[in-house]
Protein backbone atom coordinates (compact mmCIF):
# COMPACT_ATOMS: atom_id res chain seq x y z
CA UNK A 1 0.00 0.00 0.00
CA UNK A 2 1.19 3.51 -0.81
CA UNK A 3 2.31 5.92 1.88
CA UNK A 4 -0.39 8.44 2.58
CA UNK A 5 -1.01 11.54 4.56
CA UNK A 6 -3.91 13.51 5.89
CA UNK A 7 -4.32 17.16 6.67
CA UNK A 8 -5.03 18.98 9.90
CA UNK A 9 -8.27 20.81 9.07
CA UNK A 10 -7.26 23.85 11.14
CA UNK A 11 -3.67 24.58 10.03
CA UNK A 12 -3.45 22.28 6.96
CA UNK A 13 -0.32 20.55 8.24
CA UNK A 14 0.33 17.23 6.53
CA UNK A 15 0.28 14.31 8.95
CA UNK A 16 1.21 10.74 8.28
CA UNK A 17 -1.50 8.16 7.81
CA UNK A 18 -1.16 4.41 7.88
CA UNK A 19 -3.63 1.72 6.87
CA UNK A 20 -3.21 -0.02 10.24
CA UNK A 21 -4.68 1.13 12.49
CA UNK A 22 -7.44 2.67 10.40
CA UNK A 23 -8.26 5.00 13.26
CA UNK A 24 -5.76 7.47 14.67
CA UNK A 25 -5.91 9.85 17.59
CA UNK A 26 -3.22 12.50 17.60
CA UNK A 27 -2.36 16.09 18.32
CA UNK A 28 -1.34 18.36 15.49
CA UNK A 29 2.32 19.31 16.09
CA UNK A 30 1.76 22.79 14.66
CA UNK A 31 -1.55 24.03 16.09
CA UNK A 32 -2.04 21.55 18.97
CA UNK A 33 -5.50 20.61 17.73
CA UNK A 34 -6.67 17.29 19.05
CA UNK A 35 -7.59 15.17 16.06
CA UNK A 36 -9.33 11.90 15.50
CA UNK A 37 -8.96 10.44 12.02
CA UNK A 38 -10.52 7.47 10.29
CA UNK A 39 -8.89 6.27 7.09
CA UNK A 40 -10.71 4.54 4.27
CA UNK A 41 -9.18 2.38 1.49
CA UNK A 42 -9.27 5.13 -1.22
CA UNK A 43 -6.60 7.03 0.76
CA UNK A 44 -4.06 4.29 0.13
CA UNK A 45 -4.96 3.63 -3.50
CA UNK A 46 -3.21 5.32 -6.37
CA UNK A 47 -5.39 7.85 -8.12
CA UNK A 48 -7.21 6.50 -11.18
CA UNK A 49 -5.86 7.62 -14.52
CA UNK A 50 -8.25 8.24 -17.41
CA UNK A 51 -8.03 5.99 -20.43
CA UNK A 52 -5.97 7.35 -23.30
CA UNK A 53 -7.65 7.63 -26.69
CA UNK A 54 -6.39 5.31 -29.41
CA UNK A 55 -5.43 6.74 -32.80
CA UNK A 56 -7.33 5.73 -35.91
CA UNK A 57 -5.24 3.40 -38.01
CA UNK A 58 -7.68 2.29 -40.68
CA UNK A 59 -9.88 4.90 -42.43
CA UNK A 60 -12.86 2.52 -42.18
CA UNK A 61 -12.77 2.74 -38.37
CA UNK A 62 -15.29 4.93 -36.65
CA UNK A 63 -13.67 8.05 -35.28
CA UNK A 64 -14.53 10.45 -32.50
CA UNK A 65 -16.81 13.36 -33.44
CA UNK A 66 -14.56 15.81 -31.60
CA UNK A 67 -11.20 14.18 -32.37
CA UNK A 68 -11.36 12.73 -35.91
CA UNK A 69 -7.91 11.20 -35.54
CA UNK A 70 -8.99 9.14 -32.49
CA UNK A 71 -10.95 5.90 -32.45
CA UNK A 72 -14.54 6.03 -31.25
CA UNK A 73 -14.99 4.10 -28.03
CA UNK A 74 -18.50 5.04 -26.94
CA UNK A 75 -21.77 6.47 -28.17
CA UNK A 76 -22.89 9.53 -26.24
CA UNK A 77 -26.14 8.72 -24.43
CA UNK A 78 -27.22 12.34 -24.79
CA UNK A 79 -26.73 13.16 -28.48
CA UNK A 80 -25.80 9.80 -29.99
CA UNK A 81 -22.44 11.03 -31.33
CA UNK A 82 -19.46 8.70 -31.45
CA UNK A 83 -16.85 9.74 -28.92
CA UNK A 84 -13.37 8.57 -27.98
CA UNK A 85 -12.44 7.43 -24.48
CA UNK A 86 -10.95 10.88 -23.84
CA UNK A 87 -14.30 12.58 -24.50
CA UNK A 88 -16.45 10.00 -22.76
CA UNK A 89 -17.54 11.17 -19.32
CA UNK A 90 -19.09 8.49 -17.15
CA UNK A 91 -21.99 9.89 -15.22
CA UNK A 92 -23.76 7.20 -13.24
CA UNK A 93 -24.83 4.62 -15.81
CA UNK A 94 -24.51 7.04 -18.74
CA UNK A 95 -21.62 8.02 -21.00
CA UNK A 96 -21.88 11.63 -22.14
CA UNK A 97 -19.80 13.87 -24.37
CA UNK A 98 -18.44 17.19 -23.02
CA UNK A 99 -21.01 19.17 -25.03
CA UNK A 100 -23.93 17.27 -23.51
CA UNK A 101 -22.39 17.66 -20.05
CA UNK A 102 -22.05 21.43 -20.37
CA UNK A 103 -25.49 21.79 -22.01
CA UNK A 104 -27.08 19.60 -19.34
CA UNK A 105 -25.42 21.58 -16.60
CA UNK A 106 -26.45 24.90 -18.12
CA UNK A 107 -30.07 23.85 -18.60
CA UNK A 108 -30.20 22.07 -15.24
CA UNK A 109 -31.10 18.75 -16.88
CA UNK A 110 -28.37 16.76 -15.14
CA UNK A 111 -29.36 16.78 -11.50
CA UNK A 112 -26.10 15.21 -10.34
CA UNK A 113 -24.14 18.23 -11.60
CA UNK A 114 -26.34 20.95 -10.19
CA UNK A 115 -24.49 23.10 -7.71
CA UNK A 116 -27.30 25.41 -6.68
CA UNK A 117 -30.96 26.15 -7.11
CA UNK A 118 -33.14 29.14 -6.42
CA UNK A 119 -36.27 28.46 -4.38
CA UNK A 120 -38.77 30.62 -6.23
CA UNK A 121 -41.65 29.21 -4.19
CA UNK A 122 -40.15 30.69 -1.02
CA UNK A 123 -39.50 34.00 -2.77
CA UNK A 124 -43.13 34.22 -3.95
CA UNK A 125 -44.47 33.33 -0.51
CA UNK A 126 -42.15 35.82 1.22
CA UNK A 127 -43.27 38.62 -1.12
CA UNK A 128 -46.91 37.81 -0.39
CA UNK A 129 -46.36 37.69 3.38
CA UNK A 130 -44.32 40.92 3.45
CA UNK A 131 -47.14 42.54 1.49
CA UNK A 132 -49.63 41.26 4.06
CA UNK A 133 -47.62 42.60 7.01
CA UNK A 134 -46.79 45.95 5.38
CA UNK A 135 -50.03 46.32 3.48
CA UNK A 136 -49.14 49.63 1.86
CA UNK A 137 -46.43 47.86 -0.14
CA UNK A 138 -48.71 45.05 -1.22
CA UNK A 139 -49.92 47.03 -4.23
CA UNK A 140 -46.44 46.43 -5.67
CA UNK A 141 -45.46 43.18 -3.93
CA UNK A 142 -48.66 41.22 -4.58
CA UNK A 143 -48.44 41.43 -8.40
CA UNK A 144 -44.74 40.52 -8.20
CA UNK A 145 -45.55 37.53 -5.97
CA UNK A 146 -48.21 36.34 -8.43
CA UNK A 147 -45.83 36.88 -11.36
CA UNK A 148 -43.01 34.92 -9.67
CA UNK A 149 -45.38 32.10 -8.74
CA UNK A 150 -46.80 31.76 -12.26
CA UNK A 151 -43.51 32.37 -14.08
CA UNK A 152 -41.65 29.74 -12.05
CA UNK A 153 -44.51 27.29 -11.53
CA UNK A 154 -42.63 24.64 -13.52
CA UNK A 155 -39.10 25.71 -12.58
CA UNK A 156 -37.13 23.09 -10.67
CA UNK A 157 -37.31 23.76 -6.96
CA UNK A 158 -35.28 22.41 -4.10
CA UNK A 159 -33.53 19.09 -4.69
CA UNK A 160 -34.88 17.98 -1.36
CA UNK A 161 -38.38 17.71 -2.73
CA UNK A 162 -40.95 20.43 -3.21
CA UNK A 163 -44.64 20.76 -3.69
CA UNK A 164 -46.63 23.57 -5.28
CA UNK A 165 -48.18 24.47 -1.92
CA UNK A 166 -46.06 27.58 -1.40
CA UNK A 167 -46.94 28.85 -4.88
CA UNK A 168 -50.64 28.25 -4.25
CA UNK A 169 -50.56 29.97 -0.85
CA UNK A 170 -48.58 32.90 -2.30
CA UNK A 171 -51.11 33.34 -5.13
CA UNK A 172 -54.05 33.17 -2.70
CA UNK A 173 -52.55 35.71 -0.27
CA UNK A 174 -51.45 38.07 -3.06
CA UNK A 175 -54.86 37.80 -4.73
CA UNK A 176 -56.61 38.65 -1.45
CA UNK A 177 -54.33 41.65 -1.06
CA UNK A 178 -55.22 42.86 -4.56
CA UNK A 179 -58.92 42.28 -3.88
CA UNK A 180 -58.50 44.41 -0.75
CA UNK A 181 -56.98 47.19 -2.87
CA UNK A 182 -59.84 46.85 -5.36
CA UNK A 183 -62.44 47.34 -2.60
CA UNK A 184 -60.44 50.22 -1.15
CA UNK A 185 -60.25 51.94 -4.53
CA UNK A 186 -63.97 51.33 -5.13
CA UNK A 187 -64.85 52.80 -1.74
CA UNK A 188 -62.76 55.91 -2.45
CA UNK A 189 -64.37 56.39 -5.89
CA UNK A 190 -67.92 55.95 -4.56
CA UNK A 191 -67.19 58.30 -1.67
CA UNK A 192 -66.20 61.04 -4.13
CA UNK A 193 -69.33 60.48 -6.20
Amino acid sequence: MAAASFECPKCHTELEASPEPAQLECTCPKCDSQLLAWFFPPLFRSRPVGAAATSVIDQSEASCFYHPQKQAAQVCDGCGRLICSLCSVELGAEHLCPTCISAGRRKGKITALEGSRTCYDRIALSLAIVGMVFYAFSIVLAPIAIYVAIRHWNSPGSLLGVSKNRYVIAIIIASLELIGWFFFASAVIFAHK
Partner: protein, 135 residues
Protein backbone atom coordinates in the same frame (compact mmCIF):
# COMPACT_ATOMS: atom_id res chain seq x y z
CA UNK B 1 -26.65 29.99 6.19
CA UNK B 2 -28.10 26.67 7.25
CA UNK B 3 -26.29 23.43 6.45
CA UNK B 4 -27.88 20.02 6.34
CA UNK B 5 -26.55 16.60 5.42
CA UNK B 6 -28.50 13.97 3.51
CA UNK B 7 -27.62 10.44 2.49
CA UNK B 8 -28.02 9.55 -1.16
CA UNK B 9 -27.78 6.18 -2.86
CA UNK B 10 -24.12 6.63 -3.72
CA UNK B 11 -23.23 9.97 -2.17
CA UNK B 12 -23.58 12.30 0.76
CA UNK B 13 -25.45 15.47 -0.12
CA UNK B 14 -24.53 18.63 1.76
CA UNK B 15 -27.13 21.35 1.37
CA UNK B 16 -26.30 24.91 2.36
CA UNK B 17 -29.40 27.04 2.32
CA UNK B 18 -29.83 30.79 2.57
CA UNK B 19 -33.59 30.41 2.59
CA UNK B 20 -34.04 31.47 -1.02
CA UNK B 21 -31.14 29.62 -2.63
CA UNK B 22 -29.63 26.24 -1.97
CA UNK B 23 -26.05 25.20 -2.73
CA UNK B 24 -25.30 21.54 -3.10
CA UNK B 25 -22.12 19.58 -2.57
CA UNK B 26 -22.01 15.90 -3.30
CA UNK B 27 -19.43 13.56 -1.88
CA UNK B 28 -19.42 10.12 -3.43
CA UNK B 29 -18.96 7.38 -0.82
CA UNK B 30 -16.49 5.75 -3.21
CA UNK B 31 -14.23 8.83 -3.08
CA UNK B 32 -14.08 9.39 0.67
CA UNK B 33 -10.45 9.05 1.75
CA UNK B 34 -10.65 9.98 5.40
CA UNK B 35 -12.73 11.60 8.08
CA UNK B 36 -11.05 13.96 10.51
CA UNK B 37 -12.67 15.10 13.70
CA UNK B 38 -11.21 18.08 15.55
CA UNK B 39 -12.08 18.49 19.20
CA UNK B 40 -13.39 21.95 20.01
CA UNK B 41 -14.27 23.65 23.25
CA UNK B 42 -17.88 24.16 22.22
CA UNK B 43 -19.20 22.22 25.21
CA UNK B 44 -17.21 24.34 27.64
CA UNK B 45 -18.35 27.54 25.93
CA UNK B 46 -21.99 26.53 26.02
CA UNK B 47 -21.66 25.43 29.65
CA UNK B 48 -20.18 28.81 30.55
CA UNK B 49 -22.90 30.77 28.75
CA UNK B 50 -25.79 28.73 30.14
CA UNK B 51 -24.16 28.68 33.59
CA UNK B 52 -23.77 32.46 33.47
CA UNK B 53 -27.46 32.88 32.67
CA UNK B 54 -28.34 30.51 35.52
CA UNK B 55 -26.20 32.55 37.87
CA UNK B 56 -27.56 35.92 36.75
CA UNK B 57 -31.17 34.76 37.01
CA UNK B 58 -30.36 33.19 40.38
CA UNK B 59 -29.25 36.61 41.58
CA UNK B 60 -32.88 37.71 41.26
CA UNK B 61 -33.48 35.83 44.51
CA UNK B 62 -31.40 38.50 46.24
CA UNK B 63 -33.89 41.07 44.92
CA UNK B 64 -36.69 39.13 46.70
CA UNK B 65 -38.20 37.86 43.43
CA UNK B 66 -40.38 34.83 44.28
CA UNK B 67 -38.44 31.59 43.87
CA UNK B 68 -41.18 30.20 41.61
CA UNK B 69 -40.61 32.99 39.10
CA UNK B 70 -36.86 32.44 39.28
CA UNK B 71 -37.33 28.70 38.78
CA UNK B 72 -39.50 29.26 35.70
CA UNK B 73 -36.94 31.68 34.23
CA UNK B 74 -34.05 29.35 34.98
CA UNK B 75 -35.71 26.21 33.67
CA UNK B 76 -34.78 26.57 29.95
CA UNK B 77 -31.16 27.47 30.80
CA UNK B 78 -30.97 24.56 33.23
CA UNK B 79 -32.20 22.20 30.50
CA UNK B 80 -29.65 23.71 28.08
CA UNK B 81 -26.87 23.30 30.68
CA UNK B 82 -27.72 19.66 31.41
CA UNK B 83 -28.33 18.62 27.80
CA UNK B 84 -25.05 20.23 26.75
CA UNK B 85 -23.16 18.28 29.42
CA UNK B 86 -24.89 15.01 28.58
CA UNK B 87 -24.24 15.34 24.84
CA UNK B 88 -20.50 15.13 25.44
CA UNK B 89 -17.46 16.74 23.89
CA UNK B 90 -17.96 19.07 20.95
CA UNK B 91 -16.16 18.66 17.65
CA UNK B 92 -16.05 19.61 14.01
CA UNK B 93 -16.10 16.89 11.40
CA UNK B 94 -14.39 17.05 8.02
CA UNK B 95 -14.57 14.67 5.10
CA UNK B 96 -11.77 14.49 2.56
CA UNK B 97 -11.78 13.29 -1.03
CA UNK B 98 -9.19 13.53 -3.80
CA UNK B 99 -10.26 17.06 -4.67
CA UNK B 100 -11.60 18.70 -1.55
CA UNK B 101 -12.10 18.73 2.19
CA UNK B 102 -15.58 19.62 3.35
CA UNK B 103 -16.74 20.44 6.84
CA UNK B 104 -19.87 18.47 7.66
CA UNK B 105 -22.69 20.10 9.61
CA UNK B 106 -23.03 16.94 11.69
CA UNK B 107 -21.96 15.30 13.94
CA UNK B 108 -21.13 18.11 16.35
CA UNK B 109 -20.43 15.82 19.29
CA UNK B 110 -17.68 13.23 19.42
CA UNK B 111 -19.86 10.46 20.77
CA UNK B 112 -21.99 10.64 17.60
CA UNK B 113 -19.01 10.23 15.26
CA UNK B 114 -18.83 6.40 15.48
CA UNK B 115 -22.34 6.22 14.00
CA UNK B 116 -21.17 8.21 10.98
CA UNK B 117 -18.03 6.09 10.64
CA UNK B 118 -20.03 2.88 10.82
CA UNK B 119 -22.50 4.19 8.24
CA UNK B 120 -19.74 5.32 5.88
CA UNK B 121 -17.82 2.07 6.36
CA UNK B 122 -20.87 0.15 5.16
CA UNK B 123 -21.54 2.55 2.30
CA UNK B 124 -17.94 2.72 1.08
CA UNK B 125 -17.85 -1.05 1.03
CA UNK B 126 -21.08 -1.15 -0.95
CA UNK B 127 -20.54 1.87 -3.20
CA UNK B 128 -20.59 1.28 -6.95
CA UNK B 129 -17.27 1.63 -8.82
CA UNK B 130 -18.10 4.99 -10.38
CA UNK B 131 -19.72 8.03 -8.91
CA UNK B 132 -20.03 11.75 -9.50
CA UNK B 133 -18.62 14.40 -7.24
CA UNK B 134 -19.09 18.12 -7.64
CA UNK B 135 -17.58 20.95 -5.70
Amino acid sequence: MRSRLYQGGDHLLLVQSTGYTEDYKRVAYQNIRYIVVRRTNGREQQAMISGLFLLLIGLLLLAHVPWGVVAVLEFPFFIWFIVNLVRGEACRTYVNTDIQTIELPVPRRINRVPLLIQFLGEKIGAAPPTAVETA
